[in-house]
Amino acid sequence: MTRTFLAKSPPMISALGRETIRIVSGFGDLALFTGRSFGAAVSTKRLFRRVIRAIYEQGTVCLPVILIVGLFTGLVLGLQGYHILSRFGSEGLLGAMVSLSLIREMGPVLASLMLIGQSGSALAAELGIQRNSEQIVALETMGVESHGYLVTPRLIAALIVYPFQTALFVVIGFWGGSLSGSALLGVDSGVYWSSIQRAVESRDLRECFIKAAVFGLLSVTICAYQGFHADRNHSETGARAVSAATTRAVVISSIMVLVADYVVSSFFI
């Protein structure tokens, strides 16, 4: 009926309708994909070993990037924060500013974006190639639950890796802030660290870790979904399909992280 209605509508309305249906059905499909992947955790054999491997793959690859970006984010926050706060004679609050910025916003968001760029894109490309070369179909012919074997371990690993890497990002960022604020610009080191201690509350840490876990789940699901269905609904085939799926995975998951950031933040404020 919807198709008939759209066929009789003016072109712009029918195009809008088709696009809306495509987006809504895409969300539905993504939800089913996530549900099926978590549901497969029950029936997948030797899952623990695959989770450990996924933690290693997601975690170690991104470690240098997390450390470098975390350090420079802290350095910039220390530098900018010092010059802004010094206008009001509040340099003593530099630690509070750096720590709260990192814990509540910059840590989870930037760490997730780095993880998407590194392990998320790799995941989408790997699954896309496996789809292309019939490795996923081969699993299904063997009676192996392909979601359970390929996606579930990555989703579980994301719930561990993203919060851990975010914590690392934040700690290195504190140190970067201290380096620029205390060592280079002269804020007393004791004042900087005690300001952090006074400012950070448990709810801030809770917000940080919840955001990291949500972003991890969201981005790994989107990247896995795009790679897993690299052959579906698009005109590209072969290597181009994998490349397009990887691009979509990075773009969509980065946007969704920022959308989710607003939604989760609004619950905590």
Partner: protein, 265 residues
């Protein structure tokens, strides 16, 4: 060659239909595959041989018709029968579909790890045994990309037989191979079919090799099985479709040998 069993068929296909949009690919396929036999479905490229095999393996959904394994129909709603079929059936892909990030041993042990409750030692033992049967035990730590095409084919077969299946589906096992390697692959299929006594269903367009290796052959043309019989019947058939297909492959072979002799001259 093993004489085919005279019991009820292991695999039975009745009026199988599959279309892509308005284009019918399989238009009412009927087939009976006896236990312990090598059954080859011949046909020109693009006639839906691989689609037929994928419908049998359950990776592609057919539109109508019935597939029965040991007399039990395989329907989507009967998950138990389907799961049982998948445990007892293996699929050898045209491009082998090996996991390039796993070693040879890991590739072979994957179906045992994921579909059985065997302990690690037994899995290792059975996987090594399968590799040894296919003379690949010294390549256990190599990745598929570090192996030749023939070795990859053997590795794919090792992975297919490690679960001790009763039925192995071969999708164009000799696609893209030269005549010598085509012969070698068919010899390998016959050798291991005898050793492990599985039933083999092969789809290919390589007529001479298939006629030597098979107990029965069928010709798929225009979405239908237009011939079924022994290799001898196929060679002597005067059916115009059969003779047309036979002549076209022979003509191709002759023209290729002419080109080859020209080059050699």
């Amino acid at each position: 060659m093993n004489p085919p069993s005279t019991d009820a068929p292991l695999l039975q296909v009745d009026q199988l239909v599959k279309s892509f949009g308005e284009n019918p690919v399989l238009d009412g396929i009927d087939l009976r595959v006896q236990r312990g036999s090598i059954f080859t479905v011949l046909g020109p490229s693009g006639t839906g041989k691989s689609v037929f095999l994928k419908c049998l393996a359950g990776v592609m959904q057919h539109d109508s018709g019935m597939i029965s394994f040991e007399g039990r129909p395989l329907v989507i709603s009967d998950k138990e029968t389907r799961a049982d079929f998948r445990r007892r059936c293996s699929f050898l892909f045209q491009n082998n579909a090996l996991f390039d990030s796993l070693s040879a041993l890991e590739n072979v042990s994957l179906p045992l790890e994921q579909t059985t409750d065997l302990d690690s030692r037994e899995i290792q033992h059975r996987s090594m045994d399968a590799l040894a049967q296919l003379e690949l035990e010294s390549f256990r730590d190599r990745f598929p990309s570090q192996m030749s095409g023939g070795m990859q084919k053997r590795l794919a077969l090792a992975r297919a037989i490690v679960t001790r299946p009763e039925l192995v589906l071969f999708d164009e096992p000799t696609a893209g191979l030269d005549p010598l390697r085509r012969n070698a692959v068919f010899s390998m299929i016959v050798k291991y079919q005898r050793r492990f006594n599985f039933t083999a269903l092969i789809v290919t367009h390589d007529v001479p090799e298939a006629l030597v290796a098979s107990n029965r052959v069928a010709l798929l043309n225009g979405g239908r099985i237009c011939f079924e019989g022994t290799p001898g019947d196929f060679s002597s058939s005067s059916d115009p479709v059969v003779t047309g297909f036979r002549d076209s492959t022979e003509a191709l072979r002759e023209s290729l040998s002419l080109i080859r002799s020209d080059f050699q001259a």
